[in-house]
Structures are given as structure tokens and as C-alpha cells.
């Protein structure tokens, strides 16, 4: 667990978090590995974890019967995967697939959800960090929607 603690403490996502909160989060963490092509989660499944990617590459996809799997984002080393565990009804909205061998730290979102309900300071700290990630991804999505490389640009 010492190793996990060090990795999580140094990760930008958790930087500045008080040590007792960090200990609590480390207590909910475990190392996981996904082979190339393996799905980490599927759309509609219950969302009870989130992941800090240590290395590898993960594709976020939506499946369309007409067009097949459409990749909408790629996450890599250092990125945080998944926030559906934090927002009711706690179901994944996309598929996540390891593009290559991927190692990550899985965090038990269900456990953290309960801790956040009990301790709103922890809840605020986590929400603040996830709001930042959500804002970045929203900005990126808006730019993607603009289709800036289309012929009208």
C-alpha cells in the first residue's frame, strides 16, 4: 500500500489533499491491469469505480448500430477515467476499452460515495477536482462539436 500511497499523493488530481483524506482514499485503492482490447466497463453498467491510469491507453467509445464503435476520447498516463460513480444513477455512459496493455489504480467509488456523504469536506474536495476534469472534457467536446477542420473553417 505504501507504493499506492506515494503514487496517489504525487498525482496532480489529489495534490494538496489533506493526509487523512489521502489515507482514506488509499484504503479504497487497488492496482488493476487490462489487456489490449479488454473492456474496462460498458455503457449502462453500474459505475462503482474510477481509475487513475498509470500507463497504457484507454478509448472511450459509444456504440452505434449503424456506424459501429465510435471513439470519442482517448485517455493516457496520468488521466483520470470515470466520474459516473459520483453522479446518480451511477451508471456508465460510455464504453471504456484498453487500446493497449493498461495499468491503473482502481478506486472504490461506492465506498467513497458513502464517505463523502458522511464527510462533506471530503465530498467538496473530490467534487472540486472532478469538476475541473469535467470542465476540461466539456471544453474539448465543444471544440470537437465545432468541427473546426471542416470545409467551412
Amino acid at each position: 500500500m505504501e507504493n499506492l500511497e506515494k503514487i496517489l499523493a504525487e498525482h496532480p488530481f489529489l495534490q494538496g489533499l489533506e493526509s487523512h483524506y489521502l489515507d482514506l482514499i488509499v484504503g479504497c485503492a487497488s492496482n488493476v491491469k487490462f489487456d489490449a482490447g479488454q473492456f474496462i466497463f460498458h455503457e449502462g453498467e453500474e459505475a462503482n469505480q474510477f481509475y487513475v491510469i498509470r500507463n497504457g491507453k484507454v478509448a472511450l467509445e459509444i456504440f452505434s448500430p449503424e456506424r459501429g464503435a465510435i471513439e470519442i476520447d482517448t485517455l493516457e498516463e496520468g488521466d483520470v477515467l470515470g466520474w459516473s460513480w459520483l453522479i446518480p444513477p451511477y451508471h456508465w455512459r460510455f464504453d471504456a476499452r484498453a487500446v493497449e496493455l493498461t495499468r491503473a489504480i482502481a478506486l472504490d467509488g461506492k465506498c467513497l460515495r458513502n464517505k463523502c456523504e458522511e464527510d462533506h469536506d471530503l465530498g467538496y474536495q473530490l467534487l472540486k477536482r472532478f469538476a475541473h476534469i469535467i470542465e476540461q472534457r466539456l471544453q474539448s467536446t465543444r471544440l470537437q462539436l465545432l468541427d473546426v477542420y471542416g470545409t467551412h473553417s
Binding site: 465510435i70 487500446v99 470537437q144 477542420y149 473553417s153
Partner: protein, 295 residues
């Protein structure tokens, strides 16, 4: 300190001009040596002068006016190697009647060329610094001469990073060259596309998302950015967020250029002319104009 064009305009690169000894409105005749299809809507033309003695020196970032007789004239950035002065290379995207007419050019066909016009990317100012090259879509074409120049004098620069974003994997320009660049150990290359099918093994996401993956010293870096204006705007903001000062970020503006020598006024922006004073501008000079409507 941030400057605006209304208050003060000194473009640090404006000293590089086209040669004054010829009539800038008179085109030289060039013949098509080779046409290479890059993507479904992008072609690269290799042109050689009809008069053998003409050499065509240019600086990375400069553009030519290409005249398709009977169709019209368009400004197109030079996408070739600055050390090759004997032939001109232009990469053209099909967006209007003139570029569509260009698509039908064959080996041996003749077109008119005026230029080179405009200033240069800051390849000399960047000596001793890290260089971040950010290209979006066809914006990789005007930046390719920068890469040639930087790599020809590799030891003069710190880290060199190329970040390239485009629409889909099928829209990636200069694919083979990008693969070669990726295999170099002295250059960091990241490519992303806005959308892709499952067969694509690379990154999906906008080019701004690549900035945090790159390694550079923000205070000792020069960033050169070329692509659609919206892309340049958001890229510059993201670079600033990562600590690159706005006076070390350069963008290329390509609005409404017609005469290329500041006569017609079509490309006037505030007190400056894009064709004559640009097309390369420091972001701190230009940023207020990027969000201004009706200009």
C-alpha cells in the same frame, strides 16, 4: 506586457519581405512537376520555374499568390523545404473554385506565381529555446518548412515538440513523413484526431489536449501555432495555462488576402495588413482581434 494592435503595432518578424527588385504584381511562370494526393481534399504541388535560372528562396511561413489562368488567384503557404530553392512546394486544400481548378492541373501545366510574401515564423528567435509546433488540419502545411529548418540545425534548439490534430485519421497530412518524424529520438510527436472508428489506434480528442502530454520548459519555449482561428485561440489559451507567456506564442493569420502587398486593404485588421505585416503574428499582438466580431 500584452500589446494590442490599436495602441501599438510592432511585428517582430516584419523585417522579412519579398525581394524589392521585381514588380510584385507580375507573376512568374511555373510548371507543374508533380501532383501528390495527400488526402481526399488535399494535394501537394511541386512546381519548377519555366525559366531555368530562377531560384526561389523563401522563409518558413511565407506564402505565394498562385494564379490559375482563367480562374483566379489565391494565397497559399509554401510547404516545402527552405533549403530547396529550385522548386516550389504548395499543399492545397480544395475549398473554392480556384483550388478546385488547381486539382485538375497535370504535370507540365503552367500557372502564375507571385511571391514569396509575408514574414516568417520565428525560427531564428527560437534558437536556444524549446520549440512547440502546434498544427491543426491543413495548418501543418505552413509549419512543415519550420520543421525542416529546425531539424536541419537540430543542435541549436532545445526540445522540439510537434502536436498535430486533425478531423479523422483519413485527414492526416504527410502521413509517411509524420511516421518518419515519430521515429526520431530528438523530436516528440503527438497526433490526435477529433473522431475515429475502432480501427484507429492513436489518440482521439482535440489538439489542445495534447499540450499536457508534451515535455517542454514553458518559460524557455517558443510556440508556433497554425490552423483554423478557433483552434489557434484555444491552443494559445492552453499554452498560457501551461505557463508559456503570450509573447512567446506565434500564430498565422490568413484572412482575406488578395493583393499580398498591402494595396487593396482586404486583409486589413486594425492598423495592420495580414499580407504585408504578417501572416505570422505574436499572440499578444493579435489576441484581442481573435474574439472581435465583425472584422
Amino acid at each position: 506586457m500584452a500589446h494590442t494592435l490599436d495602441n501599438e503595432f510592432i511585428n517582430p518578424n516584419s523585417q522579412i519581405k519579398s525581394p524589392p527588385d521585381k514588380d510584385p504584381m507580375l507573376p512568374c511562370l511555373f510548371s507543374v512537376e508533380q501532383v501528390k494526393k495527400e488526402t481526399h481534399d488535399t494535394f501537394t504541388f511541386y512546381l519548377s520555374p519555366c525559366e531555368n535560372k530562377i531560384s526561389f528562396p523563401f522563409q518558413p511561413g511565407q506564402f505565394n499568390m498562385l494564379y490559375i489562368f482563367g480562374n483566379g488567384e489565391v494565397p497559399i503557404s509554401i510547404s516545402g523545404n527552405p533549403s530547396d530553392e529550385d522548386r516550389l512546394v504548395h499543399t492545397v486544400r480544395l475549398v473554392g473554385p480556384v483550388t478546385r481548378a488547381m486539382k485538375n492541373l497535370k504535370r507540365g501545366d503552367v500557372l502564375g506565381v507571385r511571391g514569396p510574401f509575408g514574414n516568417s515564423w520565428p525560427v531564428y528567435e527560437a534558437i536556444g529555446n524549446d520549440v512547440i509546433v502546434v498544427a491543426g488540419g491543413i495548418g501543418l502545411a505552413p509549419l512543415r518548412p519550420v520543421l525542416y529548418k529546425l531539424l536541419s540545425q537540430r543542435d541549436k534548439y532545445g526540445k522540439i515538440v510537434l502536436l498535430y490534430g486533425t478531423r479523422t485519421p483519413e485527414d492526416i497530412l504527410f502521413k509517411r513523413e509524420l511516421e518518419q518524424l515519430r521515429s526520431r529520438f530528438d523530436l516528440e510527436v503527438h497526433v490526435t484526431v477529433d473522431r475515429a472508428q475502432q480501427s484507429w489506434k492513436g489518440n482521439v480528442g482535440v489538439v489542445t489536449r495534447l499540450i499536457h502530454k508534451a515535455t517542454f520548459d514553458p518559460l524557455n519555449s517558443i510556440a508556433v501555432v497554425c490552423g483554423p482561428e478557433v483552434m489557434m485561440r484555444f491552443t494559445a489559451l492552453e499554452l498560457e495555462k501551461h505557463g508559456v507567456p503570450s509573447d512567446r506564442i506565434y500564430i498565422s493569420m490568413e484572412r482575406n488576402m488578395k493583393c499580398a502587398i498591402g494595396f487593396c486593404g482586404h486583409c486589413q485588421l486594425g492598423q495592420t495588413f495580414i499580407c504585408k505585416d504578417g501572416p505570422v503574428f505574436r499572440y499578444d499582438f493579435m489576441h484581442t482581434y481573435l474574439t472581435k466580431r465583425e472584422i
